[in-house]
């Protein structure tokens, strides 16, 4: 684990943080089912945490909880210094979540989608162009309706939407899914660069061949609890910058 560093929480909160995510005995329900059944986890600044585990283990639920989308049923949960039991809305603006869905509007163009989410998220729309360049979206696609893109291209646009937000906490659920080789390399570079720039990254993935070398820490989830938590060898790019 990367040692405690102080970073400034975004927005109104300017309290120095030593933990970006701090979960203690957290239970979260999906309907009546306890998808998280007593999670203990502490994630520091600039860590790249690989969340692995079998299907239905609770990986995606853990990311959604950290995004402030789920209310903890019991236990103590803090993200970016905010208590998730009462201040989930405060967390949301500072996280970037890439889920299984792309959250894009099919009838709007790539640029229109990214501009909408930039304005909605109160971030500078000037970041849209660089984000598209960063994700390798050629100019011929900028004015194409998202509904006409391939699955991989849509995924790149969804990642660009996360990049535009410049979140403090990146929550990536199977970020390599549907991408070609260059896209997968791009995701790895994005993750490394985000951590180098001071963000924290949690990614859930089954593609261990790629992510094991990327992550600074490996957390295994099974049955809604953490069964293993060990350091990884990744994050070399982060160390170089630091």
């Amino acid at each position: 684990m990367v040692g405690p560093k102080t970073v400034e929480a975004g927005g109104a909160a300017s309290v120095p943080l030593v933990s970006i995510v701090r979960l203690s005995g957290v239970v979260a329900l999906l309907g009546r089912f306890p998808a998280l059944a007593g999670i203990d986890l502490e994630v520091g600044p600039r860590e790249i945490v690989l969340v692995q585990g079998p299907n239905g283990a609770g990986k995606s639920t853990l990311l959604r909880l950290c995004a402030g989308l789920l209310r903890p049923e019991s236990g103590k949960a803090e993200v970016l210094g905010h208590d998730l039991s009462v201040h989930r809305a405060a967390v949301r603006r500072s996280v970037g979540l890439l889920g299984h869905d792309t959250a894009l509007y099919d009838d709007l163009s790539v640029v229109e989608n990214l501009r909408f989410w930039a304005v909605a998220s109160r971030v500078d729309g000037a970041g849209v162009g660089p984000a598209m360049d960063r994700l390798g979206l050629p100019s011929r696609l900028h004015d194409v309706a998202v509904g006409k893109l391939s699955a991989g291209q849509r995924r790149r646009v969804a990642l660009a939407a996360v990049v535009v937000r410049r979140p403090q906490l990146w929550l990536l659920d199977e970020p390599h899914a549907g991408l070609d080789q260059s896209g997968r390399d791009l995701v790895d570079q994005l993750v490394t660069d985000a951590a180098a720039a001071g963000a924290t990254v949690m990614l859930a993935s089954h593609e261990l061949d790629r992510t094991v070398d990327l992550a600074t820490r490996h957390v295994t989830v099974a049955g809604g609890t953490i069964t293993s938590d060990r350091p990884g060898e990744g994050g070399r790019g982060v160390e170089d910058v630091l």
Binding site: R92, R93, D101, Y105, D106, D107, W117, A120, S121
Partner: protein
């Protein structure tokens, strides 16, 4: 807040403009319903003239369910609803933006329907002020109630069939009030249309306020 309302409304209207669903599907559907009502009742012309207001607003109710379905689907099809939460937009702003977009679509359809009842049913408009006021106020109430219920059923698996079951009874007061006000505007029944318009305004105001207050809870995941 108002910039977010404008952002959401403009987005929904742009999507509708691009998809052309309102123009190519909803308007023809509304026209078809009017024609079929005409076929069914034309043998009895006096009944058709008396029922014109009711037929107009029943058609608007059908169209409203389609418009609300579309408005809901825009946010649920690919997880945009969750992204709206993450973006931090005030839920009340999302509600008002979607309400405005639905209302604009309904008003476009109502313009066509008014022309339809004049041409097909030989309706004569005696009070344009009452007719236009009724369309505007009733449409706001319909769009408000529809947007709230659309969000309520967004997570339901069979929302396409559940929504009309919930929406049409809720809109019954609008159907009654708007039909009575239209009766006066068309001069087909001697009633005080402006009094009924007051009822519609009350219904609309209640739904707008309740929607703005409740939408945050409805957007949240469970």
């Amino acid at each position: 807040m108002f910039s977010d309302v404008r952002l959401v409304a403009a987005k929904d209207l742009r999507i509708e403009f691009r998809s052309r669903v309102t123009v190519s599907q909803v308007v023809p559907f509304a026209g078809l319903v009017l024609v079929l009502f005409g076929f069914a009742l034309d043998a009895n012309r006096p009944v058709l003239e008396t029922a014109t207001s009711g037929l107009f607003w029943v058609t608007v109710m059908f169209v409203a369910t389609m418009a609300v379905q579309r408005s809901t689907a825009i946010e649920t099809n690919d997880g945009a609803r969750r992204a709206l939460l993450l973006a931090g937009i005030e839920p009340a702003a999302v509600f008002l933006g979607k309400l405005i977009a639905v209302a604009v679509q309904l008003l476009v359809v109502e313009v066509v329907l008014v022309a339809g009842v004049v041409v097909l049913y030989d309706a004569r408009i005696e009070s344009w002020a009452l007719l236009l006021s009724t369309c505007l106020v009733a449409t706001i109430g319909i769009a408000a109630a529809g947007s709230v219920l659309g969000a309520l059923v967004a997570g339901v698996r069979a929302r396409e069939t559940v929504l009309p079951i919930l929406l049409l009874p809720v809109l019954a007061p609008v159907l009654i009030g708007a039909t009575r006000a239209f009766d006066d505007a068309l001069g087909s029944v001697a009633v005080d249309g402006w009094a009924w318009l007051g009822l519609l305004a009350g219904f609309g105001a209640i739904n707008v306020v309740l929607g703005a207050l409740a939408y945050g809870v409805l957007l949240e995941e469970t």
